[in-house]
């Protein structure tokens, strides 16, 4: 293995010592966990969707759940959000209390004919006074700041129903950030965003996570994005197939086992060697230290 500088070299060697394992808090109690899925099982009409999923989300990490269609990625998020019944336990921060969760759904299904401005949309969860008595000044300012954060200031007075997929995604992210989440949950953050926009979106998320210190949990089918931005990966296919650092988890044999043969092509362009040149903040700041 060649190393171009000492720091990278150390990191690579340290990584190679860590076997690809499930970070079980009982085995590794030092590692702080934001979420621990303990044997989570979801069945619908007798059909098993998730089968004894045990996985962890390290605190402060950018954890990605990957897997093919129908592997239960979104279902796992819905269980986390208590939207669907499940068996097993989901433990937050080692306690039972639920942290503040900011949720950015994959595609917000809503009635686009509803008269509602972006400004109102961002304020309605925070403002006690009914909207028909007007928006509070402080909340108007907060909405503008949140939109500036996701680089969408120009959308403030638009009707929510007139936004494009990418714009809506940004507004939803602004709403989630406004809740000052301990855990930010994103379902396919790049769906509906064009390729260029997708990359910007992910860098934006990395940047915000490092500044604000929340834990990010996202579902993605896009391996290039994952290898670029995730610090922890959970490979899901109804069960946890593999879990750990992306470099160690996204191996050819793992990917082939989950996705089938053709995915080897995708993985080849996003393997560890190429990660060293990635400029995203998360690549300089790995979860293993």
């Amino acid at each position: 293995m060649t190393c171009n500088n000492q720091a990278t070299c150390n990191r690579v060697h340290r990584r190679s010592m860590i076997r690809q394992t499930v970070t079980n808090p009982l085995i590794n109690p030092k590692k702080e966990l934001a979420v621990y899925f303990d044997n989570v099982t979801v069945e619908r009409d007798g059909l098993s969707i998730l089968d004894g999923v045990t996985a962890s989300v390290p605190k402060g990490s950018c954890t990605a759940i990957i897997g093919p269609n129908g592997s239960g990625k979104t279902t796992l998020l819905l269980a986390l959000l208590k939207e669907i019944p499940y068996r097993g336990r989901i433990i937050f921060n080692g306690t039972k209390s639920v942290p503040r969760i900011g949720y950015v759904p994959q595609r917000l299904t809503f009635d686009r004919g509803m008269p509602l401005t972006v400004n109102e949309f961002l304020a309605m969860g925070f403002q006690k006074r009914p909207l028909w008595l007007g928006l509070r000044r402080t909340l108007q300012r907060q909405s503008r700041e949140l939109l500036a954060l996701v680089r969408a200031s120009h959308l403030v007075d638009r009707p929510l129903g007139a936004l494009s997929g990418g714009e809506l995604q940004r507004v939803l992210l602004a709403l989630a950030l406004g809740q000052e989440p301990d855990l930010l949950v994103l379902d396919e953050p790049s769906a509906g965003v064009d390729f260029q926009g997708e990359h910007v979106f992910c860098e934006l998320l990395d940047d915000l996570r490092l500044r604000r210190g929340y834990t990010q949990l996202m579902v993605s089918h896009d391996l290039a994005t994952v290898t670029h931005h995730a610090t922890h990966v959970i490979c899901l296919n109804r069960k946890v197939a593999a879990e750990g650092l992306p470099q160690l988890t996204l191996t050819d044999e793992n990917l082939t086992a989950i996705f089938g043969v053709h995915m080897g092509l995708v993985s080849s362009r996003s393997m560890p060697e190429q990660r060293a040149v990635c400029s995203a903040p998360c690549c300089q700041n790995n979860a293993d230290d």
Partner: protein
């Protein structure tokens, strides 16, 4: 009992039409002016939640409510709203805990209620005539006691809407998103369903079973066409419904019209709706 005559005198003064000098007209106007804001505001959420069919089912359970009253020799004026409340909450519970789609759940309730009402009524020929009152509504026979009930309901509803308007809107956008934002979706939905059931049952009195849903939907739909924000939609719906009931009642009492009050009110509201369609079409050009 509280004396409502100052209220009637005020109505007669504010609306100095010849027809408004009769006591029953003043009572009818008081009833309608209390009902109009309630149906306008609840209508916004009925449209947002797509609950038009739900309110239809409640209004049709009026038959069964009356029938139950007759069966147990109780005043139908009380059994009807009480039964509506039970049906509304029942549908909500079933909707939340069943895999069936909501229109299927409501459809089952709907037909069950109507069949039950008709079965009881068909046993007694003389009752069938009484039922016409509920089909077409009869606001002109509203009593002081009913107006007092409406005032109480109005106060309760306004308190609820002041506290919950934003959260109901949030749920209307997307319930999962609202839940993640710590909105207590279930509690809000049950309160809403219960209040809606009561409002619908009182509206049956005014405009009849067949037109109740129109009183909820039409002003909200017209308001949707002309307003650009959730705040202004509220005021538009209010304005449209209030003006519709005032105009509707007065027109229906004119010699040249002599139409049923409920139907006239809805027709005026539909006129507003057509106007709103034109406005929104012009705006889009």
């Amino acid at each position: 009992m509280i004396d409502l005559s100052p209220l009637y005198a005020l109505i007669a003064q504010l609306l100095p039409f010849e027809c408004m000098q009769a006591g029953f007209m003043q009572q009818a106007m008081a009833g309608l002016l209390l009902l109009a804001p309630m149906t306008a505001i609840m209508g916004i959420q009925v449209v947002n939640f797509r609950m038009a069919f739900f309110s239809d089912a409640i209004s049709h359970s009026a038959f069964a409510g009356v029938a139950l009253g007759l069966l147990f020799a109780m005043d139908p004026g009380w059994t009807m709203p009480a039964f509506g409340l039970v049906v509304g909450l029942g549908i909500m519970i079933l909707q939340r805990h069943s895999n069936l789609s909501s229109d299927t759940v409501i459809g089952v309730f709907f037909s069950g209620m109507v069949a039950f009402g008709l079965a009881i009524v068909s046993r007694d020929r003389s009752l069938a005539r009484d039922l016409q009152r509920f089909l077409y509504g009869d606001i002109l026979t509203i009593s002081d006691l009913q107006i007092l009930c409406l005032i109480a309901l109005f106060i309760g509803l306004m308190v609820f809407q002041t506290l919950s308007y934003n959260h109901l809107l949030y749920i209307g956008v997307n319930p999962a998103l609202a839940r993640a934002h710590r909105v207590r979706v279930a509690v809000q939905q049950y309160f809403f369903a219960g209040l809606l059931a009561l409002v619908v049952m009182f509206s049956v009195q005014a405009v009849g079973v067949l037109l109740v849903t129109a009183m909820l939907i039409v002003p909200a739909a017209a308001a949707r066409n002309v307003s650009g924000s959730a705040g202004s939609m509220f005021w538009w719906a209010l304005l449209i419904n209030m003006s519709s009931v005032i105009a509707g009642l007065i027109i229906s009492a004119q010699d040249w019209a002599r139409t049923a009050t409920g139907a006239t009110v809805i027709l005026v509201a539909c006129g507003w709706f057509i106007l709103s369609m034109i406005v929104s079409a012009l705006r889009r050009r």
